[in-house]
């Protein structure tokens, strides 16, 4: 696994191939031989230019007046040296709430949601019956394949305050999705329910690369199940955990749309409104394009910043990081 990871870090893995052996280099023979490769790349590159890089020119709008009738570079600059919309966003109570909610929900996801798949992977790893293990894995992957629309429609039935099955079974009437704090709990729980099994895949793969000799040695030393997990298994998957931690930290201000949007309801908007929903409501529904482009830019920049920071931090502690 170690050797494989090193070539992901360099952008183009170094491998020798047939072309190397040509003595001189001539564009003519080169193109004659490989022009078809460029042909294959034409549509993908066109895709990236049109749908990924052209939108970046609209980022300019974040510093311009709210006008989409003419191209963004022709629009007049916004007030406050172009920072009008950023200032406006931070004065907007709705945005502050959305920002807080995004960070809070993501932190909860990180703190509660991240250890779960690790524990589940350890559990599956200890499962002694191979066939049963396979079935368990298949079933645990199921929720990953459900959309948030489906999950929210099931949730609304199961967790309903008065006539939901859960409350009926418990003999209570807890408003699981009806008050902000409970809603947060339900949101986190559902996130874990959906992705926990799926996220074990990567840990289970890392676990298979731990040498069995280490377990043998530990057994000879008289280590029980828990001690083996603590001293062999966990250190064996440490670098995987750190890579995923970096990725998650990078997304601390990123926000999903489907999950909060479909689970939200009018009683809990103070908890459920995240930046993605704010952008949708103010931008697409409210046509405040400059303001919401500014918010999106802020979000993207912070994401990149966090990713770089956490990667640097991981490297400082002697880990490999993600590049």
């Amino acid at each position: 696994m170690g050797t494989e990871r090193s070539d992901l870090t360099s952008i183009a893995p170094k491998k020798t191939s047939g072309i190397n052996r040509h003595m001189g280099f001539s564009w003519k023979t080169y193109l004659k031989r490989y022009w078809t490769l460029y042909l294959l790349l034409v549509i993908p590159i066109a895709f990236f230019i049109i749908f990924r890089y052209t939108p970046m020119s609209y980022i300019l709008l974040a510093f311009k007046k709210n006008n989409i009738l003419i191209p963004p570079w022709k629009v007049e600059w916004a007030r406050n040296n172009g920072f009008q919309w950023f200032l406006k966003a931070f004065k907007d109570q709705d945005f502050i709430i959305a920002l807080k909610n995004t960070i809070f929900l993501n932190l909860l996801d990180l703190v509660i949601g991240m250890p779960m798949p690790i524990m589940m992977a350890l559990l599956l790893n200890e499962l002694a019956y191979p066939k049963y293990k396979r079935i368990t894995q298949t079933v645990l992957y199921l929720p990953h394949f459900l959309s948030w629309v489906i999950i929210s429609s099931i949730t609304l039935r199961l967790f309903a305050t008065n006539d939901g099955i859960i409350n009926k079974l418990l003999g209570t009437s807890i408003p699981f999705v009806g008050n902000p704090n409970n809603w947060r709990g339900t949101y986190i729980f559902l996130g874990i329910w959906k992705e926990c099994g799926w996220n074990t895949i990567i840990y289970l793969a890392a676990l298979t690369s731990i040498s069995p000799e280490l377990y043998e040695a530990a057994e000879v030393d008289g280590a029980g199940r828990m001690r083996k997990i603590w001293h062999v298994t966990l250190p064996g998957i440490r670098s995987t955990i750190i890579v995923l931690l970096i990725m998650n930290l990078g997304h601390i201000l990123g926000s999903e749309f489907d999950r909060p949007f479909t689970l939200s309801n009018p009683q809990v908007t103070e908890a459920s409104k995240t930046i993605s929903i704010y952008v949708y409501e103010k931008g697409i529904n409210g046509q405040q394009y400059s303001l919401t482009t500014a918010v999106g830019l802020f979000q993207s920049v912070i994401c990149v910043f966090f990713l770089l920071m956490s990667n640097a931090l991981a490297k400082k502690f002697g880990e490999r990081g993600i590049w």
């Binding site: 696994m1 079933v139 959309s147 489906i150 429609s153 099994g197 895949i201 995923l244």
Partner: protein, 311 residues
Amino acid sequence: MSIVNETNKLSSRKLRDGMIKSRKTRIGDLLIAFICLILMLLCLLPMLHVLASSLSSADALVKNEVFIWPKGWNIDAYQTVLTTEKYVRSLGWTAILTLICTLLSISLTVCAAYPLIYTNLKGGRFINFIMLFTMYFSAGTIPYYLLLSRLGMLNTPYALIFPNCISVFNVIIMRSFFFGVPDSLREAGEIDGASPIRILVQIYLPLSLPVIATLSLFYAVGRWNGFSDALMYLKKSESEKYWPIQLLLYNVIKNSTQTNEQAAQEGFFANGVSKTIQMATVMFATVPILLVYPWLQRYFVSGVTIGAVKG
């Protein structure tokens, strides 16, 4: 690497089976198996509940008598869904859309990934960079929306097909898989005078069926479950005919909860009927995927692993 892993796994299993287990270990094993059973139930019960609800009578549903076994067996809800034009059209359209998008996406992913394994390709590093860069920095929701509006794609089915037809993540998975194919095969082809395209079609693609299956599953699931792009890009009422099933379902459920109180006043029955229909629609929207993914499990597990390690 995978072969080494397999042997490791095998030897550790042999090791575990070969050793005489202490009583404590055996109790531990059973306990773990039991916890796994509970976790499985946790994943399955909600779906079973939906299935049972969709097969129950409206009356039983309103009285909340259904848990995981249908009460008052009937398939009226399914009949209603299958005879309501709105649902049938949306399901059919989503299926066609998913097929188109998956075919397009997988072809473009191969096109993007294959040239990159020629590491001496002039400009290959640059092309690689412009792809990877978009994974870390994206323009954001509104710029995408404005672009589609400028291209005249809003409220057309193109808005659901093109903007996300290549996922960089999947290109990386595909490329890593291609890298795993021994170079000697490609060199043998080159010596025989085969063009790069011919090498792709005759050597790489046949060897890559597992990863193609995996990525097709990812693309298909993404499109079938896709919701937010339809919500944002198909706003006008005349584009309602292009609504994928997820958006339709979302609106049906939202409207039914909004009119819940009203329905309650009009009598429970109407509300119950709509609930069974909703549950039948949920079944229609999930079953196609649930039927497919277990068969591809072996493949997607390795796909995810490559992706995560490379990502």
